[in-house]
Symmetry: C2
Amino acid sequence: MTQHTSRLCKGYFTKKESDGPLNSLKSDEAASGPKQGPTFQDGQRRVDYVLTYHIQKPRSFRRKTSHFGDYRILRSLRRSLSMMRGRDTPPPKEDPEVAAHKHRLDYHEDDKRFRQTEFEDNLREMGLELEKDEGNKIPGIGFLKIHAPWNVLCREAEFMKLKMPTKKVCTPMLKQRINLFIRKVTAPLHPKVEPNRAQNVKHLSHPFSREKQHLFDLSDRESFFDSKTRASIVSTIDLKFDLLKMTITGITSLLGNGVYTAAYPLHDGDVDSMGPEANDRKILYEEWASYSVFYKYQPIGLIRKYFGEKIGLYFAWLGVYTQMLIPAAIVGAIVFLYGCATVDNDIPSMEICDPRNNITMCPLCDRACSYWKLKTACGTARASHLFDNPATVFFSIFMALWAAMFMEHWKRRQMRLNYIWDLTGFEEEEGHHRAEYEIQVMQKTLKKQDMSPKVNLSLFHEVEGHLLLSPLQVGVTFAVVFGVILYRISIRAALHMSSNPTARTNIRATVKGTAAVINLVIIIIMDEVYGALARWLTLLEVPKTDKSFEERLIIKTFVLKFANAFSPIVYLAFFRGRMVGRPGDYLYVIGSYRMEECAHAGCLMELCIQLCITMLGKQLIQNNLFEIGIPKIKKLIRRRKSDMDSQQQEDYNMTLQRHEKDHFLGPFVGLSPEYMEMIIQFGMVTLFVASFPLAPLFALLNNIIEIRLDAKKFVTEVRRPIAGSAKDIGIWYNLLRGLSKVAVIVNAFVISFTSDFIPRLVYQYMYSPDGSMHGFVNHTLSYFNVSDFQPGTAPLQPMHLGYEVQICRYKDYRETPWSNTPYDLSKEFWAILACRLAFVVVFQNVVMLMSDFVDWLIPDIPKDISLQIHKEKILMVELFMKEEEGKKLLRDSHAKQSPLQPRSRPASHTPSNC
Amino acid sequence: MTQHTSRLCKGYFTKKESDGPLNSLKSDEAASGPKQGPTFQDGQRRVDYVLTYHIQKPRSFRRKTSHFGDYRILRSLRRSLSMMRGRDTPPPKEDPEVAAHKHRLDYHEDDKRFRQTEFEDNLREMGLELEKDEGNKIPGIGFLKIHAPWNVLCREAEFMKLKMPTKKVCTPMLKQRINLFIRKVTAPLHPKVEPNRAQNVKHLSHPFSREKQHLFDLSDRESFFDSKTRASIVSTIDLKFDLLKMTITGITSLLGNGVYTAAYPLHDGDVDSMGPEANDRKILYEEWASYSVFYKYQPIGLIRKYFGEKIGLYFAWLGVYTQMLIPAAIVGAIVFLYGCATVDNDIPSMEICDPRNNITMCPLCDRACSYWKLKTACGTARASHLFDNPATVFFSIFMALWAAMFMEHWKRRQMRLNYIWDLTGFEEEEGHHRAEYEIQVMQKTLKKQDMSPKVNLSLFHEVEGHLLLSPLQVGVTFAVVFGVILYRISIRAALHMSSNPTARTNIRATVKGTAAVINLVIIIIMDEVYGALARWLTLLEVPKTDKSFEERLIIKTFVLKFANAFSPIVYLAFFRGRMVGRPGDYLYVIGSYRMEECAHAGCLMELCIQLCITMLGKQLIQNNLFEIGIPKIKKLIRRRKSDMDSQQQEDYNMTLQRHEKDHFLGPFVGLSPEYMEMIIQFGMVTLFVASFPLAPLFALLNNIIEIRLDAKKFVTEVRRPIAGSAKDIGIWYNLLRGLSKVAVIVNAFVISFTSDFIPRLVYQYMYSPDGSMHGFVNHTLSYFNVSDFQPGTAPLQPMHLGYEVQICRYKDYRETPWSNTPYDLSKEFWAILACRLAFVVVFQNVVMLMSDFVDWLIPDIPKDISLQIHKEKILMVELFMKEEEGKKLLRDSHAKQSPLQPRSRPASHTPSNC
């Protein structure tokens, strides 16, 4: 079967290159000229990919043998040699254990060598060309440079169904008129990356196929596949062994076992190269990875061209997020300013601060505390108003819709990028199986063969994995939350119990400050611990494919880091000061620890401080210290180690080749940490926006730095990643969606339970005699008769205020001491509770409905894009139709002109031409 | 460019057919033998598609001319002829208007003819073969039979990237062991459709390509493309004119303008054919579309083979839904039985029925009503317990999770079908533009050219369409809801005001019965009205593509029909009896209409009756009357018209050819009505399951009939639909998801507000002296002092019960007459309200979380399927690798053997073979 095709193909290409219109095509060797990027020793063949490995120093005699010869003989020779040595010539002076160890080491080393050569043979069989560099510039490290020749590239591109630009061009009608206008206005905001690019021309793309190669513009073979594509083709070939043989000979397991130490494609050039030819890396460095261009759009097209779709999508997403934060930050700032402006008109805080309002408050704890005057809470009350005013309710609805808009906007942007990047119709790969999984499967199969057949319901089997570990996760998370709470309660208790009266008066300020800072430190430390924990948990699960491994790891890391970042905030917002009891009957947990209470005006103020410190601190420390500082320090240490001054270092650098320079860069560790950081920030921005309207502003400022910081990292500090293709941001999108859903509920609760919004409304419309807020403070305070103190709970210093107290007040809705059921929860309490809950129900459902409505209203695919896709489809159909007609004409004329041709069939009226 | 390919292809096929291993392939004509299905007059070429048109009777002379000649000359001739006639020979006796009309008619007819011939020319140009049948069997109807020859089929299959089975087979390892066991047990449940099918062999499939045809088993050209595929290929060609020329010459507009009256593929044969060769249609009729096999699985594979994926998915979905209803129906029946079993132990209804409990109740309305004894409500209270017991709460949680499970189960089933049907990787088409849209766009473009350029933000532009019509929709829906409510209130008021005392006592029974029945009738009538309204609204919008037209129509129909079906139920559940006021202060709306109150034990009982009547009635009437009865009547009428007795009719039928028989069948109107009916039923099952646990049982019984009914319709009563490809059920899935989300909220409200569940719990844990339900009835009743009746509201017959009443009771939580604030809402009211709302919040969020958890826990792709897809991918890669190797070997040997060949390139070490 295949014979026909192949014989034919041969004829086809032969014919074409000799007399076809494509005879400008030259073979690989002939197409010479100034090569871009690093090459083999011959200066011709481009290095597409590099593998590094350790060279065993003492056996330097072996190094020379590793050349392009017949490896099989050498290998077996070497193997038997090493076996012999291990057995026959034990070093006489070593004790047997050391010898055995050395033997194992030797054997291990030989095994590595063996597997290396086997792998290299495989690569060569696939048509790749290899060159080894075990030069002496970097001692102990060998480089295996891989070059993919043209035919291999073509073959793999066809297998991978890579969409490549065809010769057919069209002019996309993407909002032409507005675009031009906006482009003119925003010209300074655009990075200068593609000066001579024809704006309005787009090459239609089609999956590459050697049989349809007349469709493609192959005049410049060197640049038809760009460096990113070449590298990803080579890495696909590497992975194919994993896929095909399902054994442990693939590159993943070779890397895992240390047979190779690293595998990476090469950067395009130096960021500070002086040459006239600007490489993509240099352009990116200047127009993207620099703080001086912070106000500009990102050159997403170039980022994608250099790093591939996955990284391109990350930065596009980060850009959209940052852009969307601008309106949120502005509205948030306005809401905050509104709070500042109206603080003097806020009747409840005026009433609290009014010196005429001489209300005596009950002690806040048993024995140690004493009576106090309400007006001492004046400052807190005024500060609380900044964050607890009706504008906050509006803002949290606004932010819920903002989140929905953001998701929609991103979906559209993603669709647009998919169109521009020709990813429509691209199928996501499930990912190849992980080596660990394969090994486990093999073990399982062996076990199963011994055992009797068991009926296992696949559904439950699949679920098992998740369930095993869920309780563990939940347990750990809860332990942490309780740990933090206990820590706080005990700190409080210790301070409370202190006999020093001056210390006691400063209690609140001290605790607030230290608690938030200590919390922050704990959060940052635990963040690292949790990252490791999530990794370990995921490894235990042995997921099947790389993709599922990544997803599970992300989910676990997310749950843990999220719980870590938010548990103190959730505690502050919803649990603190809830069940404190009442004067004379305060609640105690675990012996003598009091539940913490809040300041008079609710916990919102403290929640706000906590959020502020967490956001600022986390971002400052993690960004500046971890992302900038530590790499700097590492570099410094490395330089110290190398015992060279900076001049020497520079000279040394000059002599290095590209693959050696890249070797010194850090490895690329994936996008997960970057995404994770942003998702946690998104949580901060949306979840507790009701209590801290400045969060979007802080996030915006952080992100402007973050983009350039990440850019710098990718361009200058890490090895070039293998370009990954992706249509979307995958699981991160689901996490974002989940967060914005949870945000609605959390905000509903913050507004109705943490803030005083509902009690105020209820007072105004149900209880206020004149419909104003006057008397609200009095309404929120219940009465307590000091004669009702339980024995041992009355304050030690009853005369603290200078007079004897008969009746004191406390913040709660309870019956009066003179009612039938003294100190029971009053009707007002239940009415307000019902209103709070009604608000939660209404808010949650209305906002969710509105979000869904926004979701439904805005089409996922922009209109112009869907129109354009449609048009391009028509163009492709036309193209093929023309081709068909051409074929038919040719066949007809052929049949007429050469009636003598022996093999041609008679021209029937239905020529079966396929 | 194309020349090379085509010349090559020619050579390729020539070579192959003469000496290749594929020389068993014959040309179209040669491959004769007994043809399956209907053919052209020559008995060879299969009829793949039929277009029908009206024949103008008086101009019978023209009919003869329409044969396969040079149409262009004839056409112009005919055209000028008709023009002349129209102008020159006006009939002298007609007045000018009639003449002009006739002229227009004539012109119109000629235009039709012209467009017909133009279209036919186009078809012929595309390679299709046509045959006309303007025979005399069915007067006035002409048939255009279309046959697609082999080469056309191949070409289009390649364009459409149809996945066809290759020769490569593999054995899917789909849960082998369990499968075998289950298969044995369930053998009688499986339809007997594929007796000799090799169970464990699957042909790998690959997009059809003429260049890769060696992959496919083309030994039997007749059956390589089955009748469904052939028809859909032809219909694609028809549609291509729409796509390519973007004018109004496509088949859609030709059908719309009446140029053709119908377009349909042909059925495979008669359902009652006696021949030994069983056609697929007959098998389907016997093994699927028959009530006698109601207990069997559906032959989904055969359905898909005969009707295509879209219809296959519908029945697969219906099957999964019906299957999933079985556990729900069982649990529902158990819950109902639990209610029946515990009705005698229910303390509150025991208390109500206890004759010692001599409670005097206040009148239920002003003046007309009088005092009554609580124990008269005994029956209602006991009946209510059937549906209002703790098991109901459990059942509604169960059903929420059931819905989530159902969605997941369906997703997995869909994935499995996608795999079996080779749809993985299939891309959904956006659908071609609708003719109406194109016309509007043309008009708009013309307008725009005159106007000054305007900046229009695309986002808002897109949104516009939705927004324009949303208020209209909402308005109509609300109008209906209020209409129903007003009707009910006025009926009630009229009955109340009736002076006949016996009538008044029967009020409740009368109203309940009539209201539900009248409601049902209104619902059924309005259903049809709304269907038309939705269609009209969607036509106003002028959606761009067929797909978006369908989606918009579905959404509109859904909203309207849903509002129609559920508004009386929602009113009963949440609004009725809510704001009735209290004795002496009843609320009135719009003058003298009282708000309706519920019976003593809440509205749940009435809600239940309403649901029961709606479900049973709707299903019985719509199924039996509309779907069975009306077609029968239509058939009867048609037979009457034809003036033949049944014997004659049968003889006549015998003489008819396939395309003529199919002509008499009804047109296929799409799946939307079928889906819509099921979705409304799904709503009934999930939304108010808390009030009617028997709903799943009713739905199950209905669906068992529904499946066979629909099957009968598709197999015997409508023309064969054009097979549509689809990966999923599209928008219906979203509607189902939306419904199951709404169901959670609705059930939360039904449990907490409509049922007495929460008040009972609150009483038991907060107020009951002994923790039992004793005294609950007393607790729910407030006191009313008859001296507090407003003037004119006291009952006319105060001595109705035979004694003078001082204090009466009414069902509400209000303060006593002797409290400080008489008749105000009491603390208990607020406490219970808070608990109700808390329940809603908790229930909604917990159930939603559980649903999401179920969603996340169960992987969308079954494990064995994902494994299998992975394996097949490996097999395909291996296949291509082998092919590559074969090519290489061949090329090498070629290069060695014929070094003299002038055009062969020198055998370099990198032969660029693509």
